[in-house]
């Protein structure tokens, strides 16, 4: 496999990550002037998520991922699943909303209430974008193609990250959520998405993309299967925990255990 020059991608990813790490505390500082103090631990979540995502696109893991399929898969788990799950606890949309001035915040709110956002944050659409995108990468020639073109590589990884983030916020409601769906519906979509993630892992196990050896394909697929299980277990626990809190019986003082 001939490899393209990925330096621009690494540079861009590093730059975006650095900007995200710096802009967040600036927004914290600005909004603390007019609102209640923004908890610092959310910045820890935010930076952990940004660093995990950046690690997959720049630095040693990113280098290794071009030649080692298991490293590539580890990168995808971090970029598309773990980083989004940690980032939502940074509540970036809530922070942005309270940092902007009123007219800008109104525009953002109009955007969040738009038909487009409503469409893509519907769990079944977000899940299709997420898992469907993965099927396209591994079941077509896209996997081979993206290693020959740096911009295609960047685009595919941008999609993996955004679709992973979209899927996460469509299942668990941590940050500002304008269009809400029932627990049952989100639970069904989550199970379907995890199910198809498992199906794809086995298909990769049986027939890895062109240029990937049988052994590399198998170990990458196993990592995808069980790594996906562990991260989705986190999503399942959070979803069920939110159900448990939302369904607390009324007038039951002794059952209030959770703090948000």
């Amino acid at each position: 496999m001939t490899h393209a020059n990925f330096l621009p991608i690494e540079f861009t990813a590093g730059f975006i990550a650095l900007a995200a790490l710096l802009l967040y505390p600036i927004a914290m500082h600005i909004s603390n002037g007019k609102h209640r103090k923004w908890p610092f631990h959310r910045y820890i979540f935010w930076s952990a998520g940004i660093i995990l995502a950046a690690l997959t696109l720049t630095g040693p893991l990113a280098q290794l991922a071009h030649t080692d399929f298991t490293a590539h898969m580890a990168g995808h788990l971090l970029l598309g699943m773990l980083a989004p799950l940690i980032l939502v606890f940074g509540k970036p949309m809530t922070l942005l909303m309270r940092t902007l001035n009123v007219p800008a915040a109104r525009n953002l709110s109009r955007l969040l209430n738009s038909r487009y956002v409503s469409f893509v944050t519907n769990p079944i659409i977000a899940a299709t974008l997420n898992i469907g995108g993965l099927f396209l990468i591994y079941m077509t020639d896209l996997f081979t193609l993206m290693h020959t073109s740096a911009w295609l590589y960047g685009l595919v990884h941008l999609h993996v990250f955004l679709a992973g983030y979209l899927f996460t916020i469509s299942i668990i409601y941590i940050d500002i959520t304008t269009h809400r769906y029932s627990f049952m519906y989100r639970a069904i979509v989550l199970v379907l998405a995890l199910g198809f993630h498992k199906v794809l892992s086995k298909l990769i196990y049986a027939a890895p993309p062109t240029g990937i050896s049988k052994d590399a394909g198998e170990s990458g697929a196993l990592l995808m299967y069980y790594g996906g299980d562990i991260i989705d277990l986190g999503l399942i626990v959070i979803l069920c925990w939110q159900w448990y809190q939302a369904h607390a019986p009324k007038n039951a003082k002794d059952s209030r255990t959770g703090v948000i």
Binding site: L192, L194, G195, K198, K202, Y205, L233
Partner: protein, 158 residues
């Protein structure tokens, strides 16, 4: 107050759902940990697995992972509402365990041919042991279930 609530009408359906979900999920975990990882009798991918088998197995295992967590949270919910009925819950738990075991043994192993219980050996005794143990769990669940039903109706009568 608490005692009064305990005598309140228990909701069998929530106890049943919680127990069955937890049973299904726990058996799937046992299957994964013991037979896939520790003994390595089951194969992750059997070269002869048809696509429908992979699909069904993926969805079933995803559901089981959800079920073990949801079953526990539902149990916490019925507990805080003071409507838990342990015998009904335990009966349902055994039905979930046995139900998954038999479903796995007959549909997954035999009909869909996802993988066998063990490779390189005469598989019949393994299949029999697998499904009979599942049936035993189902029988325990059924017996407990009728006991629970009788107790509940006695409680309501008295």
């Amino acid at each position: 107050m608490a005692r009064k609530q305990k005598n309140r009408h228990v909701s069998p359906s929530r106890n049943i759902l919680s127990g069955v979900l937890f049973g299904i999920g726990l058996m799937a975990l046992i299957d994964e940990i013991i037979f896939h990882q520790l003994l390595q009798w089951h194969h992750f991918y059997d070269l002869s697995t048809p696509f429908i088998g992979i699909l069904s197995d993926g969805l079933l295992n995803a559901f089981a992972l959800f079920a073990v967590v949801a079953g526990l949270f539902m149990f916490a919910d019925i507990h805080r509402r003071h409507i838990a009925h342990m015998r009904t819950w335990t009966a349902s738990f055994f039905l979930g365990l046995g139900g998954f075991q038999v479903f796995d043994g007959i549909v997954n192993h035999k009909l869909l041919q996802i993988h066998q219980v063990r490779y390189g050996v005469e598989v019949l005794p393994y299949d029999l042991a697998w499904n009979i143990s599942g049936l035993i769990l189902l029988t325990i669940g059924t017996i407990l279930f009728f006991q629970a039903k009788r107790r509940l109706s006695l409680n309501e009568g008295g």
